[in-house]
């Protein structure tokens, strides 16, 4: 069962939303830094979920790699950067990174359930 979110650009299932992460560039200089970076909202510390289709069309994320498995993520994250991040489905982010909470921007209003 997946939730539906209505946005300005269309309607998406939660399976069509992704989070974008990359290796923290500061980690190599400061080992105590957190290992990853992501996008979040000014009022939320949770990773922000984006519709996959809108990221694919966006210049800034054109080089992003969409990973499908935990192993794929482990291989890809080492070479990732802000310019070439890794995209994960919300379900995989929960499975591979232990993240269960995400920030869905305000304009995404849940309006129904799709079985």
């Amino acid at each position: 069962m997946s939730r539906l979110y209505k946005t300005k650009s269309g309607t998406y299932k939660d399976t069509e939303l992704v989070v974008v992460v990359w290796k923290n560039p500061k980690k190599s200089k400061r080992p105590q830094s957190r290992s990853l970076e992501t996008m979040s909202a000014p009022n939320s510390s949770y990773p922000m979920a984006f519709p996959l289709v809108s990221l694919k069309d966006h210049y800034a994320w054109k080089s992003a790699k969409h990973v499908k498995s935990s192993e794929d993520f482990d291989l890809s994250i080492e070479d990732s950067s802000r310019e070439a991040p890794v995209m994960l489905d919300l379900q995989l982010a929960g499975y591979a990174l232990g993240w269960n909470d995400f920030y869905i921007p305000e304009e995404y209003t849940e309006f129904g359930l799709n079985t």
Binding site: V21, N24, P25, K26, K27, S33, R34, S35, L36, E37, T38, M39, S40, A41, P42, S45, P47, M48, H58, Y59, A60, S70, D74, S81, R82, E83, G94, Y95, A96, L97, G98, W99, N100
Partner: protein
């Protein structure tokens, strides 16, 4: 900002084929589309100061661009100071995957009965060894020691000591 964004290479090449007035109008279009003066200036070869770009875009007329303008990167990637409404960069740590939490709890419960004199082939010693191995793998993936300790149901100090062995 460690790696400031640049205009797409195809856009820079396209700019180099234009006349001066066409280029200035194109730069004005890019600026109005959201590209910052600094990013435009640093993308050109040779780089041009943003004050010069500002001068050019202010004097250039608005011309309809037949070739599509590239979308600018999110504000968060172009400014070091967070903007009010734009998404922000945030450093994060991975957590313990849910399927490992149960396993860590089981191994931790067995490991509590492990002693130095315990036979290496006993289930307690094997559980202790496996717990250390999983904890190290998680640590290598960037999971904080506190999160591993919480998942295993032990104190931070106990987990930090195990990881430092």
């Amino acid at each position: 900002m460690l790696n400031p964004p640049k205009l797409p290479i195809e856009e820079v090449v396209f700019l180099s084929t234009l006349t001066r007035s066409e280029m200035e109008s194109r730069l004005r279009g890019l600026w109005k589309a959201g590209w910052s003066l600094g990013v435009i200036g640093s993308s050109l070869s040779p780089a041009v100061p943003k004050t010069t770009i500002h001068f050019w875009v202010r004097r250039a007329p608005d011309v309809k661009q037949l070739r599509a303008l590239p979308l600018p990167p999110p504000k968060s990637l172009t400014t070091s100071v967070p903007t009010k409404h734009a998404p922000r960069l945030r450093s994060v740590s991975p957590g313990v995957p849910p399927e490992l939490k149960t396993r860590l709890r089981e191994l931790s419960a067995l490991s509590k009965r492990y002693r130095a004199k315990t036979s290496p082939t006993s289930p307690l010693a094997q559980a202790n060894s496996e717990l250390t191995q999983i904890a190290r793998q998680l640590k290598n993936r960037g999971v904080p020691t506190a999160a591993i300790a919480e998942a295993a149901g032990v104190t931070y100090r106990a987990m930090a000591r195990r990881l430092s062995q």
